[in-house]
Subunit: 157 residues, 6 copies
Amino acid sequence: MSFNHRDEHVDDRMLLVQANLDDMNPEWISFLMDKLFDAGANDVYVVPIIMKKGRPGIMLNVLIDEDRLSAMEDIIFSESTTLGLRYLHASCHRLAREFEHVETKWGELTVKVGYHAGKLVQFAPEFKECEQVAKQYGVPLKQVYEEVRLQFVKRHI
Amino acid sequence: MSFNHRDEHVDDRMLLVQANLDDMNPEWISFLMDKLFDAGANDVYVVPIIMKKGRPGIMLNVLIDEDRLSAMEDIIFSESTTLGLRYLHASCHRLAREFEHVETKWGELTVKVGYHAGKLVQFAPEFKECEQVAKQYGVPLKQVYEEVRLQFVKRHI
Amino acid sequence: MSFNHRDEHVDDRMLLVQANLDDMNPEWISFLMDKLFDAGANDVYVVPIIMKKGRPGIMLNVLIDEDRLSAMEDIIFSESTTLGLRYLHASCHRLAREFEHVETKWGELTVKVGYHAGKLVQFAPEFKECEQVAKQYGVPLKQVYEEVRLQFVKRHI
Amino acid sequence: MSFNHRDEHVDDRMLLVQANLDDMNPEWISFLMDKLFDAGANDVYVVPIIMKKGRPGIMLNVLIDEDRLSAMEDIIFSESTTLGLRYLHASCHRLAREFEHVETKWGELTVKVGYHAGKLVQFAPEFKECEQVAKQYGVPLKQVYEEVRLQFVKRHI
Amino acid sequence: MSFNHRDEHVDDRMLLVQANLDDMNPEWISFLMDKLFDAGANDVYVVPIIMKKGRPGIMLNVLIDEDRLSAMEDIIFSESTTLGLRYLHASCHRLAREFEHVETKWGELTVKVGYHAGKLVQFAPEFKECEQVAKQYGVPLKQVYEEVRLQFVKRHI
Amino acid sequence: MSFNHRDEHVDDRMLLVQANLDDMNPEWISFLMDKLFDAGANDVYVVPIIMKKGRPGIMLNVLIDEDRLSAMEDIIFSESTTLGLRYLHASCHRLAREFEHVETKWGELTVKVGYHAGKLVQFAPEFKECEQVAKQYGVPLKQVYEEVRLQFVKRHI
């Protein structure tokens, strides 16, 4: 079964994979997260936790399609120090997503838009583009965001 | 199916709804949490997390009855910036709960009591009442708690 | 059903038990965690969270075999202040584990080794032994780890 | 010495007061924070920490004018469980602040504006007013923010 | 200069030593903390932080008398992986402390008492003794605390 | 005054600059951190905190030379949403640092070495080089670290 990610849908075949890391060099985490994203993880995030004997640890969370479990496990076991992991069944509800383009003083920029039940509920400037503009033109990033939001809101009022 | 929340019970029809928020003004969180509680959430809490590209984020957690999923989703999509959410099936085990009243120097105050397998295992002064007394009489909150606990313990020895 | 924990396996009969604690003396947490480990919990960890009214709280997590639920609940209700808990079904994937011994300047020390699909992917000096050596010989703990790892790696190249 | 808080200034007579709390009911924290704000603290915030024996604790931070130290200490010792506290000397650099008013579909709303070296660098809708509008008119809080920001940005372009 | 720690006092010769650890096995933290306490640190605690490139790290905090700086630095550089540390001058305000003993059903137990300006403001059962009783008599730790607090409060009313 | 950063030294002219951010899009944090590093900050890190009204916030920390205060403030006020910041005087103790090169199966790689009082106390493979090797050769990052450490330790025994 496959989804058109442009349409709002619920996907019941997701897994939340978790591993508690208490003896791992934290420098390796970002490398591991990137590798999991590259291999198709829907989301990856870490949570600071307190483990056995009061040790500060890190709980890795990887949200994936069931079909990818084996590939993700290979990465986690190769790139982390864990001797085990656990997974829980989850359902994901994703909004319909579209990209709109708005004209700004730095050229055309993209806005990611989310629809729930056909109604526009979210919109967010594309981070990478705004970051690129901020660097290229030497303007504060928040000013770029503000301009993109302004142009988007003006069109949709 | 409905439960008498005064009796100890296990409710297998619960959902834990989660959304990771990395581009949202944190000022809006308490408003969102209040709104979810008002709409019948059993519990709402947030967890500081680290997301893609090392961004500090906030994971929203909402524990609800399965029947309320749609109403809760409407609130989350309206009041947060997320483009998706996930949910996991959960069972809740709730103790039998009763309210007792104890006499204190500031009048009668309430204690919430929890029973597990018929045995008193928890008791807690009602926060709002104690806070009210502390403000009205200008006494430390911890002193109010101490007095309420003393009166409760003396009765139950 | 029982597992030979020396072999790599997936155990689908696990529960992740969670309780949010917002009115409990944090001093009691380590006592509670020890007691849960002693009673057979596979893992116990806590997560700092933000609860109702912005209160800093602690989420207790206990990973257990389904059969132990009742015993674990007794401990949680006795030793914490919670009026309820929740649990989610989980699967645990555990690597094959073996213990090897390496010769060091402070005597023979143990390395825990993990195998995934028959391939050595993890190895870790035993913390307690290294800690004991560090104390007895007055050397830095990290130096003991380094030595144990060196001896292990040299053998496996 | 007193400052006109409407002008940008540096105040070198500040103290950052800290207390580590590991045996205190977290329910009392918000009451304590409110009381410190009422007594004139410039800022109050708490940090989740890990203390002796791996206990999860809370570090209270109170930023105050040196002259208020004694009054703040009285509150901290009365309302928390700590047997000691520490303080560090700090300097505060505060932007010039002004309030502007913008016309919206829900009436006039306030924007807090910050100037650094005479240049407008910050602006933020007043949370309480926006929250009030969101409740009264049944609109999402983020929509109120968006409208206030739009009106402000349009005026300042 | 030396203090009688039984009297309330302010000590202006304290240092808060901090080191950010982002490439260190978290297993070593508790060993390091114990060693710092053994060497005379007044307090040791760690804070979960996010470092360069979004790496989860741990900030070590050690509160010490100025005279101990060199000894503490030796431990930190030996037992952690840091290439540097920083310290800030701090003042510690410590309450007058006394130990009282109360009679309980499990024998005499100790209460640590704190006085501010001659007034009793804090009291806390000794954790280690209560833990010992809980283990020896098989009673919940919180019940031991409750009993000790009850006996103390009854005497001081 | 300037330091040869290859020699162990204490620098007493440092500032720890802090700003609490509770109304800022967390997406902007990594951009801000990069910009502060580029402008010469010695270290930048963020701490999850709980602010007024229980809002989850982020405390920005920037460790800098006193001379850079004004330049850093310009960046913080431009790229964040804060209306103020604070700074505390700090001393930094930095180890003598050298770079050594070791031969591995993937070519020569660098190890950063730290000396305290003339004694080698720290060594760490260069993250960027190891990451590059891991990507280029398709080997686990931890295996690259292990190899570099092995070669370094063998030489220094």
